[in-house]
Amino acid sequence: MIASTDFASLKIYLDEVYNESADNAIAEVVGMEVFKIMDKQRETHIERILHGMENIQRVAEGQDFPAVSSVQGDSFTSTQLQYGTRIPVTKRMRLFELYDEINAMVRSNSDAAFHLIDQSYADVLTNGFSASNYTDVYGSSVAATGPDGLALFTASHSNPLNSNTFSNLMTYPAGTSNPALSRESLVRNIQLGLTYTDPVALNRPIRYDTLCVAPGNFDLAVRLTQTDKIPESTENDTNKFLKGRLNIKVWEKLQTRTGGTDTSAYWFLYDSKKVGESLKSIFAQRPLLHAPEEINANKNWEWTLDYFYSIHRGWPAYIRGSTGAN
């Protein structure tokens, strides 16, 4: 029998189970390597996205410097939302000292929390081709639009400064969007990143260095980017442009998005140093296991697991996406 006097030791035991399980789960969350993870205690995070301002000019001696104005940027607001569950240690479990069952419940729920967070990140990418709301992994309807009111991957991202637009929707050949993963489409879109110009038409190269794919495209991604010669070609041409340039990030959660749509052909290129400016996640509280403060009348000791986080979007140029449909 796990008696009331054993409550303190059970608490320590379950904290250890949780910490071990969470450590393993965090190591598998690919989304935390793609999204910039931040910790802030503010409920609402408002960010002004400033990119491509036309203020640096030549100044004469003694002349006032031109002033930068924040009206040149869009803003984006995200609010912390809470997610949680109860993990009851019932009278039956305590009476028969079912440590395996108690252990499994904590392990399973903590593991699930991190998988849910990871899926919520992957769904941002796989739902990034439409501005329509989508149902997230928690069953809530969430907005898919970024600071410019458009989908994450759009051919005509706009800015408040002028009418110039840019695309982060993969293109190959010219005029065809959403190409399937191929050497040609990789080369073309890496080049488009290098020749990217900001709203004031200044070239600010984006060095896409990571190819992010679902497991379904893993083998193809390796063959395209890690061979010395151009794959499946009778010519002896070098593949140096791709080999060594791209890291491959296999994200299991990209294979099927929440709702069951097969998204295994989707693929993404991002600049690992700057993708955090496009995609962020802010935690007010990372997943935590809390012991009950008092024993309930139903004899259940209810542990709770909860967390607060939000998904935040910024300037979307540092990641490009394709559904692979064409």
Partner: protein
């Protein structure tokens, strides 16, 4: 506090179709490639042909901004009582009715 982009700002600057509604790819194409004015794209003109058709005769009223409709009502000599706040649809009806009356008068003469 609204979550997401500043829709009010985006709509006011013509970068969103309406509050919470983004431009579709087709609409963006019409705006940026065909340079069709946004009021016409909001009204459903996505091709040059549709735009040209919409800019002829009274059809174009339905694509005009409310301020422009008010201006046109004044030009046509339609009087609006002080303090009245006619809707966009009311203004379009007033203009259509006045145009119809003018046509009848021309034909009778």
């Amino acid at each position: 506090m609204a979550i997401g982009p500043d829709w009010g700002n985006l709509v006011a600057s013509g970068r969103a179709k309406s509050l919470g509604v983004s431009w579709s790819e087709e609409e963006l194409h019409a705006l940026h490639e065909f340079k069709i004015p946004l009021e016409y794209v909001r009204g459903g003109c996505l091709t040059i042909e549709a735009y040209e058709k919409a800019t002829k005769g009274d059809v174009k009223n339905q694509y005009m901004k409310k301020d422009d409709l008010l201006e046109k009502v004044k030009e046509l000599g339609i009087e609006i009582s002080e303090g009245a706040m006619p809707s966009r649809a009311d203004l379009m009806l007033m203009i259509e009715e006045k145009s119809r009356q003018q046509k009848v008068a021309v034909e009778a003469a």
